[in-house]
Amino acid sequence: MELCLFLGCNTPAIRPDVERAIRATMPELGVDLAEVEGYVCCPAFGSFPSTDDDSHLASSGWNLSIAEAKGLDIMVQCGSCYSSLRMGLDHLAHDDLKLARVNELLELTGRKLECKTAVRHVSEILYNEVGVEKISRTIKKSLEGLHGVIQYPCHTLFPSEIVGFEESPRQPKALRVLTEALGATVESYSRELQCCGGAGGFSSSSPAEATAFTKTKLDAIIEETKADFIVVSCITCLMYLDNIQKKLNEAENTDKYNIPVFDYNQLLALCMGFDPKQVASICTIPRNLVIDRL
């Protein structure tokens, strides 16, 4: 199958090793990737979706129409991009007036939108289209003996009616099953479904409270599991859970917050034998303990 890879901004700009991991792994598993030339911001919820319907949905429509013109569905890793595009598409597909207005705006640019393109998350593609059996068969190295915990991206769970793909959004399992397919032991913990806290205005408007909020999650992981790593499938979860551990160590004069964080496709790429320098080199908390075991 072929899908348009919607990269968003954080992945290509700040964590391009994740982009490399996605571009390296997906074609090996039968998912070819096409570009979304001239795409714009998803739009991020704090931008046009916070100002008016026209600018919000015209930006969603702009992005969707590029993939639609190619006749391809869109694949996204970033939780916010996924949710914004999916919610934008939902508004447009179920409201003829909004779609007509967006097409009026798009017409000025020579584009149009029929809402034929689906928006899908990379973890859903891996789980439903590729499947764990193919993943197990394809990998050359295993995470056997290592313990992982999962951070599910909220934006892929809620509201399940619009963005969801899990059988039960309140008991998601895709990332767990995908991580087990790499040979790792996946442990549960009490705050598994707690949001990372990294998106939106919370962490900038209440930095101390936001750090304390995420600390409860990391403390639960440390106290309740033998986690060697955290698995995410969202660029915000990845950067936030990685960077905040350094902050916590400095604030508390400790080194106990040292759990490496990986995007799922990075672990997949490492297990497929790709060069760690290319697919998993950018991080705050060192990843050597996991990478050296492979």
Partner: protein
């Protein structure tokens, strides 16, 4: 609290859906909400009351809708299907339309280069990782111009056009 000057029809301006009127004030929307831990806390339930009661001035001054992390837990869990996350975005939209200082600077960045940050300019790093050059809209001036012309026809950009003019 003085309700004598409140605008009973404010909800129609902000979030014109009867969904909101079903709110029981049960607080399910606060459970698991990261920003409910903030200072000041985001109390979605209270915002719903403020909209229904028509407390225009208080609502215009309230910063907490902007602390929302957009996780949409409240949207999922609300037993009355009020769609609280949609309500948060609707309050932000109403604030932006009625107070230009609320218009987020990120939309100016998006207007100027397509993104909230510089994308595709880290060519050296990307090359070292074996990545292709990215076809960003920033590098496609004609396409960027079309996108800007389209945005110029939308309320937030046309009504605040001074923010978007090139120096």
């Amino acid at each position: 609290m003085d309700f004598s000057e409140s605008d009973k029809d404010l909800w129609k301006q902000i979030y014109n859906t009867k969904d909101l009127l079903y709110c029981l004030n049960c607080s399910t929307c606060l459970s698991g909400c990261p920003a409910s831990h903030g200072d000041p806390p985001l109390l979605v339930r209270n915002l719903a009351r403020m909209v229904v009661f028509g407390l225009e001035d208080d609502l215009l001054d309230d910063d907490t809708p902007w602390a929302c992390v957009s996780c949409s837990r409240c949207e999922e869990m609300c037993p009355m299907d009020v769609k609280p996350f949609e309500m948060i975005l609707a309050i932000r939209k109403w604030q932006s339309a009625n107070d230009e200082t609320r218009v987020p600077p990120s939309i100016v960045e998006i207007y100027k280069r397509g993104y909230t940050q510089s994308v595709g300019t880290n060519t050296k790093l990307r090359k070292s990782l074996g990545l292709p050059e990215l076809q960003t809209i920033t590098k496609m001036p004609q396409m960027l111009k079309l996108y800007q012309q389209m945005l110029m026809k939308t309320p937030v950009v046309s009504e605040n056009d001074y923010m978007f003019n090139e120096e």
